[in-house]
């Protein structure tokens, strides 16, 4: 196995590779990364049918086939069988919200019966959300491999523009293309991703499938079936929460947040935050790591409840993500906050940002949620950007009712935020 550097151009024969039987594997550890093989004509996406990804797992003649998904996306290529109009095949990794370089590992392995090469892409990346990894191209009657490791901060859209195409628009085949034109069905990536997330849940976390469907009903009822949000889960780690962590109630809530994200977020990711006295980022929850997620957090409970620092963190991250999508914050707590003036400032200031705060109080008995009630009705905000509800502990609320509570007012906020120009 030869280690390949960026910028190399190598005849496949030099790597002892047979262009008619190539196995390509992309190992990427960032959840939510999509790997696509683009069959191009002179650098342009001339025929959508040669774009092979989860929604179209094979090219018309099976020349390019998707044979594995997940952390290791695999393709089988028979380059010799491709029509002459396909002059190159580019493999690309894209992520909707995060730079692909955030993957701990991003490597491409090209192998065959003998020989092969591997290419470590990660060191070459900066802030690209769409990265061309390698390309196979015709040169002088033979196929060559080029290692690219370049891309676009703007993600898939920018990449498709680079290939001269448009997302969800017809890409008619060129007149010179000997193969018949592709059916003019635009690729609705959004719906497809939802479907893929559901399929994935079916395969790996079947108990989540009903939750996702239940979440969907609550969203559809509010006209939010097409809505796109970043979903954040903010968890109280004050000492009094101990029983909720031990009983698995927090894990259950996390799975419900994930079910919402499977509908609202293209990647089905939930960014998780913890707060007690301090605020902490706790990584991303996804279908890939949902099982036992809260246990693995190894939460160390803290002796206090301060909303403001974690609200600041959430706002900073939303801003860093460009505030292009609204953020739904599911804020789980079992008590009121210290430093209430700071919290009120956070609420008031963030009312001009595309963030909706959903406070869920876990009522351990004897706790006063007056402050959260007050936040819900706080004056001086650009729009009403928060809702509060409480449920008694232990949580026995049936899921359909819980999802209703979790998305209540999200639709009215979305309308007012749009009217106020806070949300496009």
């Amino acid at each position: 196995m030869t280690a390949l550097q960026a910028g190399q151009r190598v005849p496949l024969a030099d790597l002892n590779l047979d262009p008619a039987a190539l196995d390509v594997q992309v190992h990427c550890t960032l959840p939510g990364t999509d790997v696509t093989a683009f069959g191009l004509q002179d650098g342009r996406l001339a025929d959508d049918r040669y774009m092979v990804f989860y929604n179209q797992p094979a090219s018309p003649g099976g020349e390019v086939r998707l044979t594995g998904q997940g952390e290791r996306t695999a393709f089988t290529l028979n380059l010799n069988a491709l029509p002459a109009s396909v002059t190159e095949v580019v493999l690309a990794a894209t992520h909707d919200t995060q730079p692909v370089a955030q993957a701990g590992t991003l490597t491409v392995t090209v192998g065959g019966a003998a020989g092969g090469g591997s290419f470590d892409v990660k060191p070459h990346l900066r802030a690209e959300k769409a990265v061309m990894l390698v390309r196979f191209y015709r040169h002088g009657g033979a196929w060559r491999l080029a290692t690219v490791a370049q891309g676009f901060d703007g993600g898939l859209d920018a990449l498709v523009r680079h290939f001269g195409g448009e997302v969800a628009a017809d890409s008619p085949a060129l007149a010179s293309d000997p193969t018949p034109p592709a059916p003019a069905a635009p690729v609705n990536l959004r719906k497809e991703r939802q479907r893929v997330l559901l399929d994935k849940a079916q395969a790996t976390q079947p108990h989540l499938v009903n939750l996702i469907k239940t979440a969907n009903v609550s969203l559809e009822k509010r006209g939010l079936g097409e809505a796109l949000y970043r979903v954040n889960l903010v968890l109280d780690i004050s000492g009094s929460m101990s029983r909720e962590y031990r009983s698995g109630a927090v894990q259950d809530l996390a799975e419900r947040a994930l079910a919402l994200a499977a509908r609202l977020d293209d990647d089905g990711l939930v960014d998780v935050y913890l707060f007690g006295v301090k605020a902490h980022r706790a990584g991303s929850l996804s279908l890939d790591n949902a099982r036992g997620f809260v246990d693995r957090l190894n939460v160390k409970l803290e002796g206090g409840t301060h909303y403001s620092p974690v609200m600041q963190l959430v706002r900073e991250d939303a801003r860093a993500a460009g505030n292009t999508l609204p953020t739904l914050v599911l804020f789980i707590t079992d008590g009121g906050s210290s430093n209430r003036d700071a919290v009120i400032r956070q609420m008031t200031d963030s009312s001009r940002e595309p963030i909706f705060w959903k406070f869920m109080g876990i009522d351990q008995g004897g706790v006063n949620f007056d402050f959260l009630e007050k936040l819900d009705d706080l004056r001086g905000r650009a729009v009403d950007n928060a809702d509060f509800f409480s449920v008694p502990a232990p949580i026995t609320t049936p899921d359909p009712q819980l999802f209703e509570l979790l998305v209540n007012e999200l639709d009215s906020w979305q309308r007012s935020a749009q009217a106020a120009g806070i949300l496009r």
């Binding site: 550097q5 960026a6 910028g7 190399q8 151009r9 190598v10 060191p123 070459h124 900066r126 802030a127 690209e128 061309m132 040169h139 060559r144 080029a146 290692t147 690219v148 370049q150 891309g151 676009f152 901060d153 703007g154 920018a158 680079h162």
Partner: protein, 191 residues
């Protein structure tokens, strides 16, 4: 019709144009189309004796020394991004004024800050060198380097050299490890 050369090929410039006196060496490449730091390519020329060495540092023409001592070779300046049609950088050579002890002018292109920016010629598209008759802007020959290099950060694109009583051009396309500094030292420049 200008003759397009392959790597290693050569052509007699004098035979292409019997009245040839001054030439323009044009170098070009495609600007970066992806996000990230631009490709800043720098052209240099080395005036070399029969021994393949410079006579002194004044025979090394680059962005910090744009003219040779007697003025026969002149670099027209640095283009930082490759944006713009046609030649991105060019070097004027007055063949009639090349000192008699200079046998050969090597034209090289290096990538500025290649290591820091993790760039190499394999990532640069559309690189070419061409020779024009400066007096009538006729293209005499060109060499498209396309596939001829990959991970190099310094490449000798071509050489203009004396052969009998003529001037010839050779499409070299030879990579050089280490960049401009080691290349200059190899030709005997004190850097």
């Amino acid at each position: 019709m200008a003759l397009s050369l392959q790597k290693g090929g050569n052509i007699s410039l004098s035979k292409q144009d019997a009245n040839l006196q001054r030439i323009l060496v044009g170098l070009g490449w495609d600007p970066r189309s992806t996000d990230g730091q631009a490709f800043d390519l720098d052209a240099s020329a080395f005036l070399l004796t029969a021994a393949g060495r410079v006579r002194g540092d004044h025979d090394f023409i680059f962005y910090n020394q744009l003219r040779s001592a007697e003025g026969s070779v002149e670099h027209t300046g640095d283009n930082r991004t490759g944006v713009g049609d046609g030649d991105d950088e060019s070097i004027r050579v007055d063949l009639t004024r090349i000192p008699a002890d200079i046998e050969k002018i090597a034209v090289a292109v290096t990538i500025d800050q290649a290591d820091a920016r993790r760039q190499n010629f394999g990532q640069v598209g559309g690189a070419f060198i061409r020779i024009l008759n400066e007096d009538n802007s006729q293209e005499l020959t060109r060499y498209d380097l396309g596939e001829d290099f990959s991970t190099e950060t310094a490449v000798i694109f071509g050489e203009i050299y004396r052969y009998g009583g003529e001037w010839k051009f050779r499409a070299v396309g030879q990579g050089f490890a280490g960049g401009l500094g080691p290349m200059a030292r190899n030709y005997g420049v004190n850097v």
